[in-house]
Each structure stands twice: as C-alpha cells, then as structure tokens.
C-alpha cells in the first residue's frame, strides 16, 4: 500500500505517496481507526502533498475518517493540499468540512499541539 503510517509522539502521520484507488482509501481509513485505540493517539495528520487529484470519493472518505476518529478521541488534519488540487476542490464544491487543513506537516503538527494542550484535554 502506498501509504506510510508513522507514529510521532501522540500523533499518527499518514503520508500518502501516490494517488490512491478507492479501495486503498477505505483501507487507510480502517487502518487508522484501528491503530488509534492501540496507541492512545490524540491526533492524525494526513499528508496529501503527493496527490495530484482528490476526487469526490476521496474527499468524502477523508471526511468520514475525520468524523470517525473524532468519536475515538483524535482530531484529524489534512496537510499539503496543492494549489491546483485546492482550486479543483472548490470548483467542484467538494466540501471537506469539518476537516481541518494546514499548509504542511509542521503547520499541521502546530495545529494539533494547540488543540491537545488547550481545550482538547478536558473535552477529549
């Protein structure tokens, strides 16, 4: 599978290396949901820098992933959306809400840090 999943502290980092098939997207979703509980993960960063296309299926899967993981106590941030991909997403009105987005890995991690050290602790 062309997704590397790394653990970094309390976070899981899923780095997508190429465009994914629908099956691989679902597989990623299930894998992440499973690993959440095992390692007491508080945040997930999905890096889509290498993806040239995010179609409606991928967008919907990422959304449902975010909702699922939130139920299991972890926030999800998508990082590395390329300018072309961003334009395509808004043109096709593919809504990623309530997904959070950040520019790159650093930014995504900073975002998660803010949540998990702030309000996230009590509410989680």
């Amino acid at each position: 599978m062309s997704v590397a999943i790394l653990q970094h502290g309390d976070y899981l980092i899923a780095s997508i290396q190429a465009d994914l098939t629908d099956g691989q997207v679902l597989e990623l979703r299930d894998t992440l949901a499973d690993r959440l509980g095992v390692h007491r993960i508080r945040g997930i960063i999905i890096d889509v820098t290498a993806m040239d296309v995010i179609d409606s299926f991928v967008a919907r899967s990422l959304r449902s992933l975010a909702i699922t993981t939130r139920l299991r106590g972890a926030e999800t941030v998508i990082v590395g959306i390329q300018p072309d991909v961003a334009i395509a997403l808004v043109q096709f009105s593919l809504n990623l809400e309530p997904l959070h987005t950040a520019l790159d890995l650093d930014e995504g991690q900073a975002l998660l840090d803010r949540w998990t050290t702030g309000a996230g602790r009590g509410a989680g």
């Binding site: 990082v79 959306i81 390329q82 300018p83 991909v85 961003a86 334009i87 997403l89 808004v90 043109q91 990623l96 987005t101 950040a102 520019l103 790159d104 930014e107 995504g108």
Partner: protein, 300 residues
Amino acid sequence: MDRPADAPVLVRRPSGGDASLLRELVAYLRDSRTELREEWVRRITEAHLLSVMTPDEIFSEVTAVYDNYVDALETGSVETLQAYARDLSERIIPRGVETHEVLGIVLLLRDVLARSLFVRYQSDADMLNRILDAYEPAANRIAVTVGVSFVEERERVIRVQEEAIRELSTPVLQVRERLLILPIIGSLDSARARQLTEQLLGAIKANRARVVVIDITGVATIDLTVANHLVQTVEASRLMGASAIITGMSSRIAHTLTDLGVDLSMMRTVGDLQGGLEEAERLLGYQADRSDAGRSASGD
C-alpha cells in the same frame, strides 16, 4: 464638373490599356515627385495633422510614404508598403499619433494625386476617365492597407500592454512572516479572478502564509461570477491552511453581494485594510505596542 453634351461614355471600363495607363501614371508621379510631395506636406500642415512631429520628420516620412505609394501603384503589390506602414506605426504610436491622423494623411495624398491628374488631363476627359479608372482602385487599396496596418499595430500594442497590466496588477505582498496582502485594483473578470487565485495559492505555498488579507478597496463593481470566484479563493486558501480576510468592500459591492445572495458565511470581512491587518496580526498572535506615552487602551 460640367461635361459637354457630346462627351464620351461617362464610365468606360478600360480593357487592355490598363497596364500601360498605370505605367504612364507612375512615370508622371515620379516626374512630379517634388511638387506633389510639397503640396502634400502643405495640406498636412494646413489640416493640423501630425502635430506631434517636427516639419523635418514629417517631410522625411512623407517622402518615404510617397515613394512606397508610387511603387505600390506600379507593382500592384502592397507588401512593401504594408511592411513600411507597420514599421512607421510602431514608431509613431508611442508618440501619440491618432488613427484619424494616419487615415487623413493617406486620403490627403490620394486627393493631392487625383487633383494633379485632373489638372494634367483636363483637356482630355476620356483619358482622365481611364486614368482615374486605373488609379482609383489601386489608391483605395493602398489607403485601406495603410489604415489596417496602423490599426493592427495599435491592437498589437494594446494586447502587449494588457498582458503587462495583467502581470503587474496582482502583486502578492508579504507584510509579516506568514502574512500576505493581495491588493486588487481595477475591474475583475473571471479570467483575472482565476489567475489571481492561482497566484495567491502559489504565494501561500511559497511563503508558508497562515493569513492573507485580500483588499478590494480598488474594485468598483463585482458580478455574480466574480463574487463566487472570490468565495472560492477564500475556500481554496483555507484548504491550504491559510485564513483569508477581505477588506475594503465598498457599500456598493456589499449591496450587490447581498442582493445576489452569495453565500458569504465562510468569509471574514473587515472594513478597511488597517482593520484587516490588525485582525490578521491578532490571528497570528502578534501584539502591536506603541512605545511612546499617551497610548490609548484600544486593544481588544
């Protein structure tokens, strides 16, 4: 002009004599080059055409055009004249020579030459008729060629300038670390809005921006398509991890957007650029402090 009753047929199509007539015409025009040229310059000055050029310049251009004109009459090919006209246009357009001046000058030459033909052949109406038959189509074609060349050159210049304006008109500026400003000035159409979005997203990536302030103080009006583009720009910026703040929206645009029912729930708007920058700094965690005394407690 009154014609005697026994004048020959008024309009007579020249059959085979066309070429020899043109030759005669060209020879005549070459012989009378000096007088006709001077007459032409006199008429140009009288009509106050080419006022931006000095008399010397006018005379040398006039000479070149005259010779090209006669050559074009002789060969029937306007290519050399066309090239010259284009080259001339390139030189005179930056100096502010107008289309009506160029057309006026060419038509003046046509009149000057036609009149000299009247004078020369006034005793022989039939010959005059045939000479004019040969002269007029060629002269008209030349006038059209010069006019079109000028206008084409002008359009080319406009296209180049449009391109330059498009490049210049949407700078993305970094004012602080992670904070960009995009001042939009002038009219927005779909093409420009799209280009602007791409430029902004590229800058967000390159500068790792977290907040962008889009200032539309300089935009007079907006339509539905462009408004939706603006919403998409804000949305796409968010996908790249940057919050967008729109500032300087005129009451007219605000009315338009409200009337059009554009969904602005995603948009963060602040009245003016200053307010937008303050809001952006707040988002980024900056706090502006005045070092001198007497500062008012205005922080929020």
